[in-house]
Each structure stands twice: as C-alpha cells, then as structure tokens.
C-alpha cells in the first residue's frame, strides 16, 4: 500500500467521527521505483491531505517532506520538492503492518501490501 492510497482511506465503522486518517504501524517497508511524472503530481497535489501525508511518511521513516505544501504557482519550478513528493506518495510501500483507526483502535492488517478493509457485520 502506498501513501497515495493511505491518503484516501477512511474508517467506515458506523458511528465513527474521526475516520481519517488511519494511523500507520509499519512492520516492513519496501521502496519501489516509479517513473517521475510532474504532471500527475501537480494534478494530485490539490486532492492530497498534506498533514496526513507528512505524518504517514514520517511513520514510514521518511522525514524529508516540508510541513506545508508550497504554493501552486511555485510548484512548476520546484523540482526538489516534486521529487520528495513523488518519492513519498508513490515509491514507499507498506508491505506488512497495520492501519489503525484513531477513534476505535480497530486494526486493519496489511499483508503482502494489501490492507484488509473487510468490516465485520456489526461494524457497518
């Protein structure tokens, strides 16, 4: 699971208010190279919850991201930032570990890079 997906996943349990983001408890992280495409990054940056990305990256061991995303106007020329964004969003993979709902503490295990988001009958 990459951080781009983590940035979109929320906890679907009935009654939970604080659904997003899920906390990452990593056990195994791998890095897989992906082609750098600034167009895609510029397209995605508007949709990304920046704080969740920074916290998620930190829990995966990557601390290079700035606390705030730069202005969209300066984004064109800011290649070092785009590279860091690219690496954290698309190249860090959580292979084994869990995602934890901050409100209920419910753990969603991640195996072989696949989070198990199947809810029990009484949860939804």
């Amino acid at each position: 699971m990459r951080l781009i997906v983590h940035n979109m996943l929320s906890c679907n349990i009935r009654g939970v208010v604080n659904k997003f983001p899920l906390r990452i408890e990593p056990e195994k992280i791998i890095v897989k190279e992906v082609d750098f495409n600034p167009d895609f990054l510029k397209h995605m940056i508007a949709k990304i919850d920046w704080k969740a990305l920074v916290d998620g990256a930190r829990s995966m061991g990557y601390t290079e991201l700035p606390d705030h995303a730069p202005d969209t106007t300066t984004l064109e020329s800011d290649e070092p930032f785009l590279r860091k964004f690219h690496h954290s969003l698309l190249e860090l993979h959580l292979e084994e570990g869990s995602l934890v709902c901050s409100e209920t503490g419910r753990k969603f295990p991640v195996n072989k890079g696949i989070p198990n988001m199947l809810f029990h009958e009484d949860e939804v």
Partner: protein, 289 residues
C-alpha cells in the same frame, strides 16, 4: 459459462485459489477482460491531455483489467473481496495498489479523490444476498452512495455488467439514480447473443457531455437508454433483446430466395462475414450440386 458464478457461491468463496488461477490463466478470459477494459476506459472519456489520472477498479480480481489501465498510463486502486484473486494480482506484480474489501460495505474513500472508476463483470455480484444479514438494496445503496462521494466533479464510472435479468438491471440503475448519478446504458452488438456487452456509464456532477452510442457491426448508433436525474423521468424503459417475431420457415418447395436473403441479413447483424447479395443468390443450381 454454463452456470452463472453468482448462483453457485459468494465471490470470496467461488474465487478460491484454484478458480483464481484458472480464471487468470485462461487466455480467452484474459483476452475478453482486456477488450472490455479498453472499451470501459474509452467510455470514461478522460481528458486527452497526457496527464495520468487516478482511477478506481472495482472488483479488480487478479488485476487483468488493472493491467489495461496501467498500459494507458494511469495509476489505479483495485478493490476486491477475494483474497485469492488479489494474491494472483500480487504474483503478477501489477502496478496498481490493491485493497481487500467488500464494495457493498461502502468504499470508505475521501470525497473527490477519484478521477474515474471502472468495473468489469463485478457489480452484478451485489444483487445476490449471500448472507442472511445482506439486503441487496442496502448494499447497492452503500456502494453507489460512497462511489458518488469519492468521485471528483465531472468524473465518470463505467460498469460492464452481466445482469441476470431485467429486474436486476433495473435494480442497479435505480440505486445509481438515487445516489445522484446521471447517465445511460451503452450496448455493444445488441443483436448478437455472443458479442452483446452492456456498459452502464454513470456521470457525476453537472458536466453535460454526450454519452457515446453503442457499437454494432455496421458502426451505427443503437439502443441507448438515457435517464435523467429528476424524479418524474426516473422511469427507465428497458426493452428485452430484439427477437425477430416473424419466422419464415423454408416452405415445402424448398428454401426460397427470400428465406435465404433473410438468413443472410440475420447473420450480417450478428457480425459475421457474409458474401454480398447478387442476382446469383438463391438461383437454382444444376442437379449435380
């Protein structure tokens, strides 16, 4: 397929390890899935600006449809309920991210993050009640509601479905409408039993672009049922497949020219290669033939 898989077992049980491997190693299925995915991507009408998008593949299975998405240069997230199918996807090293989840429980994705969604041969599974606690209508509601929310404005969802009957198709359409979607049904090759494929194209938000017409063998537009969001015209008129009512059997004198021409026309509609009609068609031959 002799039997519909949906009638045999719930998807997470039907698609066990053996079935998952069988499915993915069948070259016929791989080929069909690739074609269906390409058509679905076409119907998504993504802007042709060369910018990769982030798409959702619902019921991604072993990643066959996902591979087509990657070929077109987009990133994707695949959701499936069968762990065995997803394991095959991992083995095949698909480029997309995978999620083990039940679409009938809601997608659980943040609003506006998805640029488009496709689903190949999966949504009809929602119409079956596999557990006593399942109520298909509620599951469809949870699915369409959560899908509508996570799609960005102007994004589309294209589902290739195999509905069991008209009632199922209506159920799916009605729930999609209620969730706020607009759109229509695109049918390719409506007259051919083998080639006929249905695509439900759903649109989100106020962008009004025309829905493409379905394909048929002469590339003419064909049966397309538009439905709008407002309640009054919420009635969706569905017609069953066109069956030629009039049957012309060969009469006692033998196969007449009219009968031959009718049969050739039928074959042409199905998409077969048929020699052109000429003055020689149905002409009486010498007795040695």
């Amino acid at each position: 397929m002799a039997n519909r898989p949906e009638l045999l077992a719930p998807p997470e049980i039907f698609y066990d390890e053996t079935e998952a491997r069988k499915y993915t190693s069948s070259s016929r299925i791989v080929d069909i899935q690739a074609k269906l995915s390409e058509r679905a991507l076409e119907l998504l009408a993504l802007p042709e600006d060369g910018v990769p998008r982030f798409l959702l593949d619902i019921g991604c299975g072993s990643g066959l449809s996902g591979e087509t998405i990657s070929e077109y240069g987009h990133h994707w997230l695949g959701l499936d309920i069968s762990a065995s199918m997803l394991n095959v996807a991992v083995e095949r090293e698909v480029e997309g991210d995978l999620l083990l989840g039940d679409m009938g429980q809601g997608l659980g994705l943040r609003p506006g993050v998805i640029d488009g969604a496709i689903s190949i041969s999966a949504v009809q599974w929602l119409c079956n009640a596999d557990k006593t606690s399942h109520e298909p209508r509620l599951r469809l509601k949870a699915f369409f509601g959560s899908l509508y929310r996570c799609l960005s404005r102007g994004a589309r969802a294209v589902f290739q479905v195999y509905p069991e009957n008209i009632k199922q198709r209506e159920l799916i359409l009605r729930q999609a409408l209620q969730a706020g979607f607009g759109g229509g049904l695109v049918v390719d090759y409506p007259h051919s039993t083998k080639k006929r494929k249905e695509f439900l194209v759903l649109t989100c938000g106020s962008v009004q672009t025309s829905i493409q017409t379905g394909k048929n063998e002469c590339d003419e537009g064909c049966s397309e049922d538009d439905f709008s969001e407002d309640e009054e015209s919420g009635m969706v008129s569905m017609s069953d497949r066109n069956r030629p009512r009039k049957r012309q059997k060969p009469n006692k004198k033998g196969k007449t020219r009219e009968w031959i021409l009718r049969k050739k026309e039928q074959s042409r509609r199905k998409g077969n290669d048929v020699p052109a009609d000429s003055k020689y068609t149905g002409r009486k031959r010498k007795s040695c033939f």
